[in-house]
Symmetry: C2
Subunit: 336 residues, 2 copies
Amino acid sequence: MASVTLKDVAKVAGVSYATVSRAVSGSPEISEETRRRILKICKEMGYTPNSIARSMVKRCTNILGLIVPSLNNPFMSELTADLEIYARNRGYNLMACNSSYDHDLELEVFSLLIGRQVDGVIMIPVGHEPYESLSALTKQVPTVFISENMQDYPENYVSVDNYRGMQIATEYLFSLGHRDILYFGARSDSKTHELRLDGYLSSCEKLGMTPHVLRSTYSRSSREVGYALAGEYFSRPHQETAILCSADMLAIGVKQAAYEAGIRIPKDVSLMGFDNISFSALPEIDLTTINQPTQQMATSAVDMLLDHIRDPEAERTNLILPPSLIERKSCRSVRA
Amino acid sequence: MASVTLKDVAKVAGVSYATVSRAVSGSPEISEETRRRILKICKEMGYTPNSIARSMVKRCTNILGLIVPSLNNPFMSELTADLEIYARNRGYNLMACNSSYDHDLELEVFSLLIGRQVDGVIMIPVGHEPYESLSALTKQVPTVFISENMQDYPENYVSVDNYRGMQIATEYLFSLGHRDILYFGARSDSKTHELRLDGYLSSCEKLGMTPHVLRSTYSRSSREVGYALAGEYFSRPHQETAILCSADMLAIGVKQAAYEAGIRIPKDVSLMGFDNISFSALPEIDLTTINQPTQQMATSAVDMLLDHIRDPEAERTNLILPPSLIERKSCRSVRA
DNA sequence: ACAAATAACGTAAACGTTTGCGTAAAACAA
DNA sequence: TTGTTTTACGCAAACGTTTACGTTATTTGT
């Protein structure tokens, strides 16, 4: 596994290894003739530049760290895929780490990535705890959040407009004739979910509806959480005609619980999600939801991060992308 | 962003930087007293070891490369998550790259990872092309495949027993009374899918059934592919009572097409998948399938790779894990 | 034709670690 | 005591690049 280095090539080519370096790195300080000759020798000898050594002297690794709560959630795995592909096209590799929805682990892998000398980190934060320890980390490396959780941080972030998204959802259900809408959400320690809830509440007020809110004690928006909480809900008396979930995965869990409780969707109750994961489009799920423009979020996050890396003094910019309604078959009109 | 180095710490502590190195790296050649003193100073100064520099001299990066066709497939994203978490617990970070089901890209990112000086790579190959260019790469870095595609390669691999898995599936459908089973699979240039098909064929022969095979021209086992191919199938006359798919995602696409064609599952036709992705457990999907022990595959792949890294001369070992039947509601008994 | 500018390449330092070797002091054995 | 081993540390080379600077040969300007 011993690899061939610049020196080996230089010896064969009969030049100094600085010249070889210039040949492979595309420096102008070299004649086209020798460049071609050296490049040919490189091919023959199977030379691959050692990016570790390069990182050493250039003081940048062209590696981006990614901290993501989970890859089991399709929203996040699709986002991760988009991030990786786009970053690679821009010359950066991604070092992805699962935080497993764990706050301490989140911080731990962050400093691990710093030790790895990543040029920047993209973080999808678990929630919003007192983050004094996080800001100590973000000070050490350019960071962008994909989330609205971090509004009180000086770092850039990109996100869908959660507040507006839930307004759109609420207004849509209202337009279908629903007047008793249950908001079904994850724990509120996250700004993201706070904004979604506020969007719902504001629309309720504007439209003259009484809000009904049911929230999980978990911050995790998983199918299991939705299933458990909805099972409890369905077992007790309830009069809401629609359930608005703060995440598609929650809605899918709700649907499962509804199914087992003999409640039909959308016949007995309408159901909405938020995220628009690909599975929501399945005819068996067919979930009306609010779309997050994941691809644009991914490219923008990378762009913003790279800008920040190139110019650390530049002002921070935030990007709030517009959500959109994806109308499917999980909601029915209850007009008289 | 200028970080504090060994020298900075050494200057403050009044020792040589070799001593500081020994303190932080846990060398025995140092007294407990000075170690504690230096470590305290490290904390105070916020010193983080530069792993790039360490990699430089130790000639290993503690980074593993991962090449995966797609993260949109839950089977692969769950596998990726398991790989990352387990690798990190063993002291390695993962650099994951999407090959996007593209053969050339697969090779391209492989050499990119080699340039990154990864200590090893885990690859979920797209298929099985004439891989003379791949073996040139695997010679340069320890590799393990998660797939049965690479049996003629000298590298280790870990996989579920695809052949046996499809036998189990076929026997199960037979036991329910099915005698006309359609095998619905991805393109055959992949050894994995060849083995699955062979498992089906062998069981057909053993049980005295005539095999019916329908194969996609795509190697990608996506919902879209299953949907398209099944749409075509349902639009023509057909008499099979069960459809056995080579992947859950295909089966989900088939289910969608069946739904739109007005064909009920399992009333009109039974449906089976292969993989046991988490979504198959949803009551709306409820797909009977063959389980792949992903977690064990992940840990074994990492273990095998690390063994290979520590002892490059060791003999290669392959690990074929047993599949198991997950019985759900997508198949019905057609006994008389 | 001669000075000045430029092009092409070599020299060597630097990036932040680890580690083999050397050495002085401390500990131990006799 | 003296000799030997051990402990704890410093010195300096090495890992494979990049790049500022120096130098020579060539080109350009007048």
